[in-house]
Structure formats: structure tokens, C-alpha cells
Subunit: 312 residues, 2 copies
């Protein structure tokens, strides 16, 4: 049997929730994300030989690793469970940051196996496998980070159970400024803090904003997007977990951000902007303010990533 | 001064809420609605000489009449408060039916004055005036019926206060079957029955469906529309006000309706369908079932009305 040549895949970081789409909206960016080098292994089945960039705490046992579980699920689906494959995982993004780190791993794992075996499955068919990987890290079977990391663009999840995902259009020029302040909050805390009820009036406002946000993407109407990007349900509850949240929001909006909110469960924050210049100004303003308050931060400036996960 | 020639306007009936857009979505149909004959009056200001079709209970005092208040608001805005104008109102739709009767009156009133004086205002500028009229009947300042009756099509209200209304695309071929069962429920009861809280899980499902519904209109994707048109928040609470609701829903869906729910605050019911034949079959099935259960009903079959209020 000829040896299958090794390949590399990249799955991008993602912003979930996007202010008005708690658990249903997400988008991918360029830059941060997970790379996996996939090569033929020396023993039957999947092994993970290395996890680079200081992620020593992540398990190398494929059954406990997000990328591993996603990959094993694909291998089983395509009848290659016993084929020797090895992963070398390179995490180019912070962990527990609200940037979809576990989703990027799960997507890279599923994508890596599929590319290695010559793409027997479509990206849409990979979705449930990547969701299984994400579930190992997160406990929940959901696609709000997995779908944009895999498919690219701005995605809307109508139903996780039915894998009903819609890729929405991304207006040309739309830039994201993603800020990761070096503070720790856990997704579990970030979920526990949320009320399990939504006021009917807030529900009406939020649905109006969500509907208008979706319409704004199809109309390529950034003014409407700006008016719509207001979270009256989740952000007010989670803002208290992020030091200086409302100061940071004011800095973003005064630097022409179309909207500013919490990325996923936080602590990362994102702004959507009309162009790269606005996004850079937002990033500079926020980084400087955080520094004055003795909080280190990393700023990522990126267009919406319409490709999602790729082999390279 | 030459006498201004009389004109007639029509404002259509509307379906509000549309399953997934409580207080934010609505669409207009052809057929039922309000006609107003506008002519020069004999005394300064607005008079209402007649309200046809058995609506004797509706006040003829313009300050207490929905069409009157909307019209007076327009007359004030264009500096014609003292000009003698008379309305003859012809209501071609049932009252308190969940078909936007008061909104049709308010829109016809605002539109009638504007057309009579040669269109000094745009339709979008008429919106707040029509909303003032609707407020007389309903108590609340909201546009979910007024906007589609005025503008036509399927409309989304991002904000009532900001008059931020988006006209969404209507896929060609989309037909509505609107059924008015001859039973009485009051909007006030229909509102009081609603919990002022929404479960977070229902909120997530409903927002997923709403976002997908808006996307389905832009994509002209009736399969996605069918999957999206599911109200998990309001319908389960209001179904008990409509006798045999779930039987009727089953009849609609088994006759190929894309979705079926309560029109506005009820008791009217609507189905969206792929074509006029499906809509007619849904109407026949439901009418027959209601008749067997000794409930008279009126069935309206219509395309989405993309024009809204017109002079004719």
C-alpha cells in the first residue's frame, strides 16, 4: 500500500452570538485558529503526537480530545477507523477566550481526516462530526462556533438537532475587530449567570433587531446593520463579567464601530466596522484603555472569513 | 376656490405576527379591507358622514374614530386642519377578527387625506399618522398591522418608536389562506393570556426560526420557509382560545400548507402555501371541519399583496 502524503488544514477562530443571535449566529475571521498536520501513523487508528504552543493540558488521548473525537467520528463514517493516522495540532489562538477555540479544534480534526482521505464527505456532511468534537469540550451539541469555522462567513443555526444551518451573505468591506483581554472567565460561569427567562418586551426588541440584522446582510445595508446590532437580552447580563465593559463599548462606538458586544461567552469582545481603518482605530483605542487599566490584550483585525476551514 | 374632486382609497387586511414574528412581522393580502370615499365637506375640518356595512357601533366623531384620528394627524402635518373634508367609510372585513381591521381603517384614513390633497407626504411619512389612528383602537403605538397595510408585502418592524420598518421580499407564488371563524375573542384577552416571560430555550428556537424565515424570503427558498414557520412561544399559549386549533393545524399541514398559525391576536387563522391550489384545498378542508363543528367561517385566498394601500 502506498503511503498517503501528509496534509495541513486550518480552521479559523469564530465570533458566536454576534450580539443579536444568542446560540444561533456566528462568523469566522482570518488569522487565529487551529492548524493540524495530518500524516500516516505508525499504529492502527488515530494518534495525537503533539499539541504545540503550550497547550500541554489538552489531552492527547483522541477519545478525550476535541479534534480527536471529531476525527474518529469521520473515520468511522467513512470506514477508516483502523487506518493509522497521526495528528500534530498547532493552536494559534488563546484557550477559553470566547473565540471558538474548541470549535476550531473540532473542525480542524474533522476537516483534516476528510482532506487526508481525499474528501469523501462534503463540508456540510462534516458538520455533525465536528459538533460531536465540540460537545466533548463544551457539553452541548451545538454549531454556533463550529458552523462558521467550517463553512466560513456569517452563519445562522435554525436547528442544531436538524443540522439546519444557513450561510448568510457578508457585505463587502465589513471588518471585525476582535479583542482578547487577558482575563479569565469560564463558559460555565458565563452560562450560569444567565436568567432562564427573557422578558416578553426584550424578546420583541431582540427579535426585531435579529430580523433586521439578517435583512441588513441581504440588503448589504450597513446603516440598518448598525441600528440592528443591539443585544438587549444577553449582553446586559454578561457585561458585569467583563471589567470596564461599558467604557470599552463607548470607545468602540466613538471610533465608528457599527456595533460592539461580547464574543461568544467572553471575555473576548468584538466590533463590526465599515472598513479596516475603523477596525484598527477601535482596536487601538481599546488596547490603550485596557493597558491603562493594567490589562494586557491581543487585538485581531480581520475581514469576515468567507472560506472557513481549508487545506493548505 | 375650485372644489377638489373626490377620490377613493383602499387599505388591505393584514396578517400580523406570522408565527415567528410576534409584534414585528406582518403581511398584506388582497380582498378584505377598508375603502374610504374622500370628498370635499360642507363644514371646516374632517367629518365622517357614513360608516357602511353594519359598523354602526364605530364612532363617527373623527376624534374617536381610527380613520379620523389618522386623517386629522395628516391634516395637521400638512397645514390643512380646517379644510372641509368628508369621509364615507366602507368596511369590507370583519371587526375584531385578527385581520387588522383597525389598522386598515387607520391606513385608509391617512392615505385618503394624502391622496385627496395630491400626495404631499410619502407612504413612509404617513406611517406615524396611521400608527396614531391604530393607537385609538388598540391602545398601543405599533405598526405590525399598519405597516403592511400601508406599504404592502411582508414587513418587519425593527422599532415602533423609531418607525424603523423593513419591507422584506415576497417569493413569487406564495399564497395565503386566511380563515375567519365566526367566534369572538378580544385582543385584550388574547394579550392578557400571554406570559410576560419567554423561556430561554424557546427564545433560542424562536430566534433561529425567525432568522431563517427572513433568510428564506431573500433566498426565495420555500423549503426553508416551511421549516422555519414554527411558533414555539406565542401559539402554544393562544391555541386554547381557538376551538379545535390543533385539528385545524393538522388539516392545513396535511393539505400541504407550508405553515399554519394564528393571525394577529386571532381568532382568524392563516396558512402560507406554495400556490393558489394548495391554499384553496387548505381553505376547503378547514371550512368543512368547522362546519361539522357548527362554526361558520369565511375563507379568503390571496397572494401576498405587495402594493398595500392604493387610490383607485
Amino acid at each position: 500500500m502506498d503511503k498517503i502524503p501528509g496534509i495541513k488544514v486550518y480552521a479559523p477562530a469564530t465570533v458566536a452570538n454576534v450580539a443579536v443571535g444568542y446560540d444561533i449566529l456566528g462568523f469566522a475571521i482570518f488569522g487565529p485558529g487551529d492548524d493540524i498536520k495530518v500524516s500516516q501513523g505508525t499504529e492502527p487508528g488515530l494518534t495525537i503526537s503533539m499539541i504545540h504552543n503550550g497547550y500541554n493540558k489538552l489531552p492527547k488521548d483522541p477519545l478525550k480530545n476535541t479534534a480527536g473525537v471529531a476525527a474518529l467520528s469521520v473515520m468511522e463514517a467513512i470506514g477508516k477507523s483502523d487506518f493509522p493516522v497521526n495528528f500534530e495540532i498547532i493552536k494559534n489562538m488563546p484557550f477559553a477566550s470566547g473565540m471558538g477555540s474548541s470549535a476550531a479544534s473540532a473542525v480542524a480534526g474533522a476537516m483534516g481526516i476528510n482532506e487526508f482521505f481525499g474528501n469523501p464527505l462534503t463540508k456540510m456532511e462534516l458538520l455533525p462530526h465536528a459538533m460531536k468534537g465540540e460537545q466533548v469540550a463544551d457539553g452541548a451539541y451545538h454549531a454556533d462556533n463550529v458552523a462558521p469555522s467550517l463553512l466560513g462567513g456569517i452563519t445562522l443555526i435554525r436547528s442544531n438537532e436538524e443540522h439546519d444551518v444557513i450561510k448568510l451573505p457578508s457585505p463587502e468591506g465589513l471588518y471585525c475587530c476582535l479583542i482578547h483581554p487577558n482575563i479569565k472567565i469560564l463558559t460555565a460561569d458565563s452560562r450560569e449567570i444567565l436568567s432562564d427567562k427573557v422578558d416578553l418586551n426584550s424578546f420583541i426588541k431582540q427579535t426585531g433587531n435579529l430580523g433586521a440584522f439578517v435583512a441588513s446582510l441581504y440588503r448589504l445595508d450597513l446603516d440598518l446593520l448598525e441600528r440592528s446590532l443591539q443585544d438587549v437580552v444577553i449582553e446586559p447580563q454578561r457585561a458585569k463579567l467583563i471589567p470596564h465593559f461599558y467604557d470599552l463599548k463607548e470607545i468602540a462606538l466613538s471610533n465608528k464601530a457599527l456595533g460592539f458586544s461580547i464574543s461568544g461567552a467572553g471575555p473576548s469582545l468584538f466590533a463590526l466596522c465599515r472598513n479596516s481603518l475603523d477596525a484598527e482605530n477601535v482596536g487601538k483605542g481599546i488596547k490603550a484603555f485596557l493597558k491603562e487599566n493594567n490589562i494586557k490584550s491581543t487585538v485581531y483585525i480581520s475581514k469576515i472569513n468567507n472560506e472557513g476551514a481549508i487545506k493548505y
